[in-house]
């Protein structure tokens, strides 16, 4: 088995607001092996984006606090590192693809310059070589005529091109771990297909280790080796992709899969999970999903522990066996 590049243990992240404390992440454990693509799936307020932020050390202070836990990257706990050390890792060994390419690019600086920022601080290059490197990485993501694009400004690029620039920036230093936070949500549907295709090409070519944060199960099916499902700050199920889709063990996962639109021509059925997401300030006692769950009983007032439901398949539910 390949070694684990990333291991997250017992991560708790809280946000303090005027109205109380939001427990965004409550005891999350997972790992990613080298050359693997792990999908982190969840709805809004599931904590998936916060986890991504924590991995690169940009959880919004002072409201957000990492209360406890370890994040082991290549064996070392990055939560214990100083800001300067984290800065060195960030952008070169762990890179991040944000959700919205339009707001992620500074409108006053050229695209070429912003790509070069990615390696300016991690590699020593002469100014002339810098341009060549930028062009090289733009070619990897199939940006047409990169030499002209160097001096362009973000507003001159289409949404799809901007996202390619972002991806290029993320790949510039050949990172050990690539984190993509909803890489296609902000794009038009047609562009989404292009970007997904691009990311798959890059994955095939470079065998990158990736953490894909998304709510889009279709994307997960296409891209991920393994999936972890998040609900209200906890991982409720984790399995290899095929296994999860074929044999979901958690009621929430089942609900998610059932919500995917299906049906023959003329008769599309839409199932929705009954109930609503709880208020992030007041998570239900015990299993967070119990108020909406068909199978909930008194026992569910106790937080379920993670149990093995098969090889490489974990579930956090008291009654998974009965499904």
């Amino acid at each position: 088995m390949d070694e684990k590049i990333l291991e997250v243990k017992g991560l708790h992240i809280h946000f303090s607001t005027d109205r109380g404390v939001i427990r965004a992440v409550e005891g999350v454990d997972f790992f990613i092996r080298k050359r693997e693509v792990l999908g982190l799936v969840g709805e809004s307020a599931s904590g998936k984006s916060v986890i991504g932020q924590a991995l690169v050390g940009v959880v919004a202070k002072p409201a957000g606090r990492i209360v406890s836990g370890e994040i082991l990257f290549n064996g070392q706990d990055i939560l214990k590192k100083s800001e300067t050390e984290v800065e060195k890792i960030r952008g070169s060994e762990i890179t991040f693809i944000p959700q919205d390419p339009t707001t992620a690019l500074n409108p006053l600086l050229s695209v070429g310059f912003q790509i070069s920022e990615a390696f300016k601080y991690h590699r020593t290059l002469k100014v002339d070589d810098m341009a060549a490197e930028v062009i090289k990485v733009m070619q990897v993501v199939n940006i047409p005529s990169p030499e002209q694009r160097l001096k362009d400004y973000p507003h001159q690029l289409s949404g799809g091109l901007k996202q390619r620039v972002i991806i290029a920036t993320a790949l510039a230093c050949r990172p050990d771990l690539l984190i993509a936070d909803e890489p296609t949500s902000a794009l038009d549907v047609t562009i989404q297909m292009q970007i997904i295709k691009l990311i798959r090409e890059i994955q095939d070519r470079f065998h990158m280790t990736m953490l894909l944060i998304t709510h889009n199960l279709g994307l997960v099916a296409k891209m991920c080796n393994r999936v972890a499902v998040l609900y209200c700050g906890r991982i409720v199920e984790e399995a290899p992709t095929k296994e999860l889709f074929k044999r979901p063990r958690h009621p929430y996962t089942k609900g998610l899969l059932a919500s995917l639109p299906k049906g023959e021509k003329g008769k599309v059925e839409l199932y929705t999970i009954p109930g609503q997401l709880p208020n992030p300030l007041y998570h239900p006692e015990g299993c967070h999903f119990s108020p909406r769950c068909d199978l909930s009983t008194g026992k569910c007032k106790e937080v379920p522990v993670m149990e093995q439901a098969g090889e490489d398949h974990r579930v956090r539910c008291w009654r998974w066996r009965e499904m």
């Binding site: 303090s16 607001t17 005027d18 109205r19 002072p62 409201a63």
Partner: protein, 298 residues
């Protein structure tokens, strides 16, 4: 159906009352106390002031405050060159400040908001005209204009309030115009237009309630500005005339006595600063409270 509507309205009104009370409870205490003090002293000046503010006792002229050598307990903050008690004069001076401050704010807010709503809601030529007009007022030095107006029509209390309002309404117009523009494209306003309500009715029924929050914040912040403005005019001799006591007039008196009566100018100024500070702090607090993004901040 009528019954259901009235209970909806009732619960909403009850909710609003509770929210309002909770809001009042959160008001910053010290600034609120200062404003309260201001009101009390202006209303009950004749009962709480230790001396008649215009009584001249030349024997007691230029007495320092009580804690310095030569001071006396009957003139806590000292006396001026004509033997008048500084503390009493400050207490009486609060009346003009309160009246001009609040009346001036009300008038400016009224004019400014009205023009702003009309500009934002109507758009087009009306908007352009109003905007050019505000540009004109903004570019002219407001002190000079106020002085000129008062020099023209005379320094009575009403005239001063009018002059101040004329110079100050611009601050509301820009912002209210912006809000009105945003609101006028909101769906519920379109719905109202479709359902046939007249344009002016629209303005007051739909736009006004939604900009009131902003107006309230601006007005609260404006009170301090108005009081300073009035004091400046009084200082320059174009405010309410003696024998009416004004804080600005007190500072002017003090100015000619800086070497031998520093307290004459200092304490009225402190009164102005404290009042204005209290107003600003409450205004800032109010702005934060009414900010719709308040829920998520630390």
């Amino acid at each position: 159906m009528a019954g259901k509507n009235s209970t909806d309205n009732e619960t909403r009104k009850a909710e609003q009352k509770i929210k309002f009370r909770m809001l009042i409870r959160r008001i910053p205490k010290i600034p609120a106390a200062i404003i309260l003090l201001l009101f009390i002293s202006s209303v009950s000046a004749q009962w709480i002031a230790p001396h008649d503010p215009t009584a001249q006792t030349l024997l007691d002229a230029l007495k320092p405050p009580v804690w310095l050598k030569g001071g006396s307990a009957s003139y806590i903050l000292g006396t001026d060159a004509l033997g008048r008690d500084v503390l009493s004069r400050i207490i009486y001076g609060s009346r003009v400040s309160v009246i001009v401050g609040f009346a001036g704010v009300l008038l400016s807010a009224f004019v400014g908001t009205l023009l702003g709503m009309i500009a934002g809601y109507s758009g087009g030529k009306i908007d352009s005209v109003i905007m050019r007009f505000t540009d004109m007022m903004l570019s002219m030095p407001y002190i000079l204009i106020a002085m000129a107006i008062i020099a023209a029509i005379g320094p009575s209390l009403t005239n001063i309030i009018i002059a101040l309002a004329l110079c100050n309404w611009v601050g509301y117009t820009r912002i209210i115009r912006f809000e009105s523009m945003k609101l006028s494209t909101a769906e519920f306003v379109d719905m109202a237009v479709i359902s046939g309500s007249g344009r002016f009715r629209n303005l007051f029924v739909h736009i006004l309630p939604n900009v009131l929050n902003t107006v309230l914040v601006l007005a609260t912040l404006d009170v301090g500005k108005m009081i300073i403005f009035e004091a400046a005019l009084s200082f320059l001799g174009l405010g309410v005339q003696p024998p009416t006591v004004t804080w600005g007039g007190l500072c002017a008196d003090g100015r000619s006595n800086l070497s031998f009566g520093w307290w004459i100018a200092t304490f009225p100024g402190i009164a102005i600063v404290m009042t204005c500070l209290a107003g600003n702090l409450i205004g800032d607090w109010l702005r934060d409270e009414l900010d719709p993004r308040h829920q998520l901040r630390t």
